[in-house]
Symmetry: none
DNA sequence: TATGAATGAGTATTCATTCAT
DNA sequence: AATGAATGAATACTCATTCAT
C-alpha cells in the first residue's frame, strides 16, 4: 500500500525526506498545540482542534506524542525552547551594567508582548500546579542561562559602584518579570476593574517606570526607604 | 445535619430557615465553585465535582445559578467581592504616606498568599480573554475603591514632599500588584526554571524588596536613573 | 397552620368551599394539561409547564392526579367529555335525514376547528398506540351516543327512500370524521407538500364537497360507480 | 458481520466499502429513527434507543446527523422520499379515468397500511406545528408529482364526460387521503370509542366505500344533493 | 505509515417525582 | 392542605482515544 517514492530530486534520500516530513509535521502539531492549549487551558483544549489546525490526523498526533498529556508536555517544553532561543539574542555582556538592566527590561516586556501564548502557557501550567513543568524541569532546555548572565551584570555593576550588593540575580529577575508579566497577563481584568487599557502607550510608560524602579532598587543610595518599616513596627 | 437555628430575634418568622438555608447552600456552592474553577480552569472544572464538594445536588446548582457559565460568573464575582471586603480592613488614611504604601504592599502580598484561589481565578479569567469579567464589570462590587484611596495617599505624600509627582494611582497599584502577584501565581514554573522555592522566607524578603522598589520609585531624589535609557538611545 | 376561615357570606359552608376550590383547581389543571399535552405530545409535555399554566403547585397536581400518566389519562377523558357535551347541541332528530347529515358534517368540521386541541389529543393518543384510551374506554363518558342517533337518521332516510341501505352508522361516521379531521390535523404538512393553505375559505369549500360526497354516497341512485372496480379486477 | 462485498465492476476502488458502509449505516440509523420518532413522537423519542436499534453508536449518529433535531429532519425527509418512491409505481396514465381514481384510492390505502410509520411521522410533525417540514419543503424530494398526474386524470375524465368540472386535483387528493388516512391513523381511538376494529376486512369495505364516495363526487349527475343545504339555510 | 471511521466513558443539563414545613 | 425546595434517574451531546484499512 506504500506508494513507491522515487529518490527526491534535491539529493535527499528517502529516509531523510521521511525524517524531514516528520519534523515538519511535528512542528505544525506543536504550533497548533501551543495555540490551542494557551487559548483554552488544558481542560478546554481539544485534540480535534489541534489536528485540524495542524493539518495532521488525530491518529498521527497520538502516534507522535502519545496522549493529550504528553502532547501538552511537549508543547510546554517547546514554549520554553522558543523563549530560550529568543533570549539568546539578548546582549548582557557588552553593554554597561545599567544599560544591560534597562535592556533586559525592555527585552522582557517586548518578548511577552510578542509571544502572548507564552504567558498563557505559563498561566495554564501554574493553574495545573506545575505538575508538568516539574516533569521536564530536569531537561536542560527549560532552565534559563539568563540567571547566570544576570549574575555577571550584577557583579560588574557592583564592581563599578553603580549597584549595591545583597541582590541575587533570581530575586532581581523575578521582579523584572513580575513587572513585565502581570500587566500583559492580566490585561483583561485590569481593564474591567480599573478601567485602564493596557495598550502600546500604556506599556511604553510602564517600561520607563519599570526601568526606574529596578534601577532605583539596585542603586546603593542613602538607603533610607528600606528601613521605613523597621521603624514602623 | 440541620444545625440548631435559634429563634430569630428580629421579628422575621417562618421562611427564615429556608432563606438562611438557601443562603448557606449558595455560599457552599460558591465556595466549591471557586475551588473547582480555580483549580482546573473553566474547561477543566466539573459541575459534578462542585456538587459533591458543596454537598448540593446538581439540579439545585442549576436551579440556583442557571448553567455552568452563570455559575462561573457568580464565582468570579464572589471572588472580587471577597477581595474587596478584605481591602476594607486596610488603613490608608491614618498612617503616614510612606507607611501607607508599605502597608499596602504587605497587605497585597498577604492577601494573595492567603487567598490563592483569587489569583487562580484571575488567571483563569484572563485565559478566557476576560469575557466574563467584562459582563460583570459594571457591578459596583467589582470596582475597587482602592485606587481612590491610593490617590489620597499619593497626594498627601506629594504635599509632604516625600513623593514626587507624575505617578498615577493606577500605575502605582499595577506595579505593586505585579510584584506581589507574579511570584505567587508563577511559583511552580519559577521553581522549575530557576530552582527557587517561593516559600515564606522568600516572600518576606520579596516583601522588603518590593517596598524598597516602590518607595524608591516614588521618592523625588536626584532622578538620575530614569534618564539612563535616554542616554542610551 | 390552617388559617381560620369564617363561614362564607354566600351561604356555602366551609366544606362546600373547599370542595368548590378543589373542583376549580382540578378544572384549571385539566385545562392546562390539555393545552400542554396537545401541544407537545406526551413525551414532550412538561409537568412544570402544566403547574405554571394552571397556577397549581406541582405537589398539588400529584396529589390530585397521581402521576404524569394519570394526569394524561384524566386530560384525555376530559377531552372526550367536553366533546360529548358539544355533540349534545347537535340536532339530528327533527331535521330531515338529508339535512341531518349535512348538519352533522357542518357541525363536525366546526367542532374540530374550534377545538384544535381535541384533534391533537387524539393524534397524541393514537401515537401512543391508544394505550390510555383503552383504559378509559369502559367509562360511559367516552363512548359517543352519536352512532345511535346517526343510526336513527339512516333509518329515517331509508324509510323515506332518500338513503340506500347497507350503510352502517359507524362506517358513515368514520367517513365524515375522516373528511373533517384530516385537513385540519394535517394542515401543516399539506401546506408544505401541496402548497395549499387550509384556511376558512378552503374549509368552507371543503365542507360543501364533503356534504356532496357523503350524500352522494348515501343516495340509492343507479349504482354504477361502485361496481367499476369489480369489472376491473 | 461484514457481508462479502464483491469487487466493484464499475472501476471504483478503495474507499468503496467505507462509502457503502456509511450508506448502510446511515440507512439503518434512519430506519431506527423513523421507528423511534413515529412511535414516541419527537419529545418521547430517545437517541439512545435509536442507537441501540440501529446498531450504531451514539457518537456516530451525532457525527452523521448533527443533533436530535437534524436527525428528526432527516428521518422526516426520508419518510417522504420513501413514499414518493412508492408513488412512482402507481399507474395513472394508461388506465381509464375511473379506473385511475379507483387505483389511486386502493394504492393510497395500501400504502398507509403498509407503512404505518409514515402516518405516525406525519402526525408527529403536525403535532409539532410543521416546523420541520417547513424547513425541508423546498427540497424537491418532498413535493409530490402526484398532483400533476392527478390533474391529468381529471382532464381526461372531463373530456370523456365521465367527470364533472370544478374539481381541483389538490382538493380531490386531500379527500382521498382523508378517507384513507384517518381510519388507520385513529384506529386505536375509533376502536375504543365506537367499538369498531379497523382490521383488513373493515378496510376492504372502507376501500369500496371510499371509491364509491370519490367517484360519486366526480360524476356529473343530476346534481341535486349539493344544493340541499342552500335550501336548508 | 497514515487516516477516515468508530466508541467508551464521560459532561452539562433536565425532569418527573417527593420531601419538609 | 398546600408548596418551595430538593433530587435520582435519565437525556442529549462530547471528547480523548483506538480501530480497520
Amino acid at each position: 500500500m506504500s506508494r513507491p517514492t522515487q529518490p527526491s530530486s534535491d539529493g535527499t534520500s528517502r529516509g531523510e525526506t521521511r525524517t524531514r516530513d516528520r519534523q515538519r509535521t511535528t512542528r505544525q502539531i506543536l504550533d497548533a498545540a501551543l495555540i490551542e492549549f494557551s487559548s483554552h487551558g488544558f481542560g478546554g483544549a481539544r485534540v480535534d482542534a489541534i489536528a485540524e489546525r495542524s493539518g495532521a490526523s488525530k491518529p498521527m498526533i497520538y502516534s507522535y506524542f502519545g496522549d493529550k498529556d504528553a502532547l501538552y508536555e511537549a508543547a510546554l517544553r517547546d514554549a520554553y525552547v522558543q523563549i530560550r532561543e529568543g533570549e539568546r539574542e539578548l546582549d548582557l555582556e557588552t553593554l554597561s551594567p545599567v544599560e544591560s538592566i534597562a535592556s533586559l527590561v525592555r527585552f522582557t516586556l517586548l518578548h511577552y508582548r510578542q509571544n502572548p501564548w507564552f504567558i498563557r502557557m505559563l498561566n495554564t501550567e501554574n493553574l495545573r500546579g506545575g505538575r508538568t513543568v516539574r516533569l521536564i524541569a530536569d531537561a536542560a532546555a527549560i532552565q534559563s542561562p539568563l540567571i547566570e548572565r544576570l549574575g555577571g551584570v550584577l557583579a560588574r555593576g557592583r564592581k563599578s559602584g553603580e549597584f549595591r550588593g545583597g541582590v541575587t540575580p533570581v530575586e532581581l529577575y523575578v521582579s523584572i518579570a513580575s513587572l513585565c508579566y502581570f500587566p500583559i497577563s492580566n490585561a483583561h481584568t485590569l481593564r474591567a476593574v480599573f478601567g485602564c487599557s493596557i495598550d502600546d502607550a500604556w506599556l511604553s510608560k510602564h517600561e520607563q517606570d519599570t526601568i526606574r524602579m529596578i534601577l532605583g532598587y539596585l542603586t546603593p543610595g542613602p538607603e533610607q526607604q528600606e528601613n521605613s518599616q523597621e521603624r514602623a513596627t
